[in-house]
């Protein structure tokens, strides 16, 4: 699980062009949207594509995303349970 969390942080930084950030700057329970990292709706779309491409998870209900993308912890838990690749 720790390796997955590290991988997610690295992917997040690369996919979302979070310049000047390193994985160490993102805590596992940091809020990704809103007051935390400050991600926005375009980032949410990027994350949905990342889930599909890297882990074979298709999110059909956008409302699901709100809970899944809350933090690195919630993302890692969801991916561990639902990944197909």
């Amino acid at each position: 699980m720790d390796a997955l969390k590290q991988e997610l942080k690295e992917n997040l930084i690369e996919q979302l062009n979070l310049e000047d950030m390193s994985p160490e700057d993102i805590a596992n329970d940091d809020m990704l949207f809103g007051d935390g990292l400050g991600l926005d709706s375009i980032d949410a779309l990027e994350l949905i594509v990342m889930l599909d491409k890297n882990y074979g998870i298709k999110l059909t209900d956008p409302k699901e995303g709100r809970a899944i993308f809350e933090s690195i912890n919630t993302m890692a838990a969801y991916i561990s349970e639902h990944r197909t690749k």
């Binding site: 996919q15 310049e19 000047d20 375009i42 779309l45 594509v49 491409k53």
Partner: protein, 353 residues
Amino acid sequence: MKNVYINSVGSISAQKTFDNTEFLNEITEYNDNVIFAVNPVYKDYIPPAAARRMAKGIKMGIVTSKIALKEANINQVDAIITGTGMGCVRDSEKFVSAIIDNDEQYLTPTPFIQSTHNTVGGQIALELNCKGYNFTYVHSSISFESAVMDALLQLQLDEAKHILVGGVDELGDHTTKIHKIINHIKPEAITPTNLLKSKTEGAVFGEGANFFVLSNEKSNTSYAEIVSVKTYNTLKQEALKQQAIAFLKEHDLSTNDLDLLILGNNGDVNFDAYYHTLSETFSKTPQAYYKHLSGEFNTASSFGFWLASKVIKTQSLPEIVRLNGLQTSQYKTVLLYNQYRGENHSFTLLRQC
């Protein structure tokens, strides 16, 4: 009709031109066939959260716009007019590559949003909160001149007071590769001082952004007056001399009245003959060139426009841009001529104000 003035400049190029207090004091040497812009610290001008999705062309456009606005001592303009040959080519490449690599799946929105030509003008407007006229001209090597002509008409007719006008193009890896294959880029590495000695076809490719505040009110920051701009999609080499003379005559000038001729020579043995024709026509006039400093790109002539503006304002011609040995005591009337691969020719006439 009102006169139109260049009230400020902002430039990012392969030289350190973003600092308006300097004028080619320090030359960035290279030995290559593709040269990249010298970057300012973008974070000093654009909030990191906004900058993270911006392609280099957008960043260069926004920063040069902000530099120009600051120098003109204004916070807002009535219109933003951009010239670009290739637009945000890096994101276009990213988007198209993703379509191919991922078998038309997993497409993310950011490169698509950024891939249109008018993204630069749009992002500048968002940064400045400018809700006025916003137009982008994509006309190959007369993209910048087309933007200037639009602004000139609006300002002359007093439909606007201040217009931000610029030219911007960025280098993209895939596009560069293609230009190398079709010999639009020189096969050999070149140093700035050797560009015009090259005996090969193609040019040294570059990138950059040059934005200007054009106004119909002269100010204490004014660089020069824009007298006229004329463009041609096609122009035969044999007709060039006559067209240049006719263009000057429209403004009651002859070949002896110019203080400086600035040419867009890029060292391509197949097309520099156009420039040689004008060099001979104006053999008694001091001449300058600039693509050995900026590289060739669709809006490289905006760097020439920047050069002309600086020469007129400072009344000095840096040694590095001199094309012939002729000297003059003043730079009052300056003619620029540019073309790329024998097409899309332009004359721009500037005057001291």
